[in-house]
Subunit: 325 residues, 2 copies
Amino acid sequence: MTTDTADAPHASLSGRLAELEAHLLGGDRRALARVLSWVESGDQRGREMLRALYPRSGRARTIGLTGSPGAGKSTVTNELAKSFRARGQTVGIVAIDPSSPYTMGAILGDRVRMTELYSDQGVFIRSLASRGALGGLSAATQDVVHVLDAYGKDVILIETVGAGQDEVDIAGAAQTTILVNTPNMGDEVQTLKAGIMEIADVLAVNKSDLPGADRMVSALKALLSLNPDRGWDPPVVRIVGTRGEGIDTLTEACDSHFEELRSSGRLEAAELARARQQITSLARANVLNRLHTESGEQRLDDLSAAVAGRLADPHSAAKAWLAEL
Amino acid sequence: MTTDTADAPHASLSGRLAELEAHLLGGDRRALARVLSWVESGDQRGREMLRALYPRSGRARTIGLTGSPGAGKSTVTNELAKSFRARGQTVGIVAIDPSSPYTMGAILGDRVRMTELYSDQGVFIRSLASRGALGGLSAATQDVVHVLDAYGKDVILIETVGAGQDEVDIAGAAQTTILVNTPNMGDEVQTLKAGIMEIADVLAVNKSDLPGADRMVSALKALLSLNPDRGWDPPVVRIVGTRGEGIDTLTEACDSHFEELRSSGRLEAAELARARQQITSLARANVLNRLHTESGEQRLDDLSAAVAGRLADPHSAAKAWLAEL
């Protein structure tokens, strides 16, 4: 790459970054990968690229997938990606799961299916395992989604393991959230426990060729009927991810939900809520970063010693520490 | 009570509060209860009382009890309290568990045992279910412990359900932490899962008259052997809480751990860490309170709209929001 273009088209970016932006917007996957790495790690260059790219985002549809480990989320994600590709839409996949086949290798069947996607230039797959990013995993994921969106992906699939609150929040921040279930009692209980039903717009019963699928479908419908007034009636779709069965129905269910969001005006409300949530978590992280500087830590050590020695009470010490800001 | 004592002994407290402090330090349980209510709810008077009382704290021994729901923690807590009382030590009990028999009523057997404690003036029981306190449940619990400590309790037992990270942290913040297990496989798995073994100083196998107790003891010992270099070898104590069996051994195990903490100098390190943790969580909560004022919320609304409309990126918006502080 050449360098030094003081008169770059984007005044806010320096020469190299403006060039990188041009490459990215031109469809260069390596430029995209580099920017995503910066964004994930909290690098200042990532911040600058994001500021420049963000106005170009907001066009992609976002779909979150969550569910228990073993529910087959990666398989469903793959099949959905293929379904959107078959319509000519480009796809970004963000997998947030340290044990995801995208990062850790996969069983043979999965690997074969995934290789298809990897070799498709219309698909870009990014695995996000880092929790070190500023503002937490949720804010980092949204930044990655913004960049893929600005890059031009039509649909962005965000796959998270539905174990922690963070992961559930991430999937719930997408326009449409699919909860992937499987026909067995353990999952049924887990579904109830996590209160995850409230964020699900579409319910998929994966592995629905297994015994117990009917019971799972009934259980989910019964659960949904407990909360009828959400302005959208989440469909329950039976699929067999490994054979691609029911995937088109699932894609259509996502489409219907998106249309409902758009026509009801709830799409904008959701986008507003998402923006608010990201600003809040970034601001909180920013404050923590400013408190935990080297001098802030030193002051905290001194104050902790004073509190431990009963020379100051914890509330007064907290106030004194904040005075550092 | 009489009022208006401008020349109260404690310059930092106003007349009424100084009087209340004097009553509390004189052993008045109603004064104690009132101060604890203020402390829990984040009332400014609680803050002032705490500032005055805190220098008198630091003498009580603190023992945390955690474990799965159904492990019999409340029973063990009761029995430990009686054991300390039998030695002539006074006891404070802080139960953090919305389903605790202290708040919710109990099965008959429990009620009988607990009534004994309730009628003992040497025992003060406080149930803490509120999560609304500034700095979260952990900071509120520590404030309650400080007040009971200043009030003069010799031993403070802190019972938490070992389900959430908060609760585990609270039990772990005590000088000695007892993990209460029962002989069944489910608990065994849960023990592993939560990584709770690392905070346990003493392991109790409750209901050890049930089948599977030997296996549970072996499993726990095997788990402990995986982490041998912690400077203390956590004993595994078999008890039958409902019959008081093994409780004296458990009390002695707590004593041994405390002696080890003291002689090794780790007691001070732990106190320092606890102080540091409380200062940090109070400071964080304080910042959040300052951000989420009415005008702060209004500004956040405006910034969210700008981000949703792609007029500003989330990082710049977060920066702008913080500029309000």
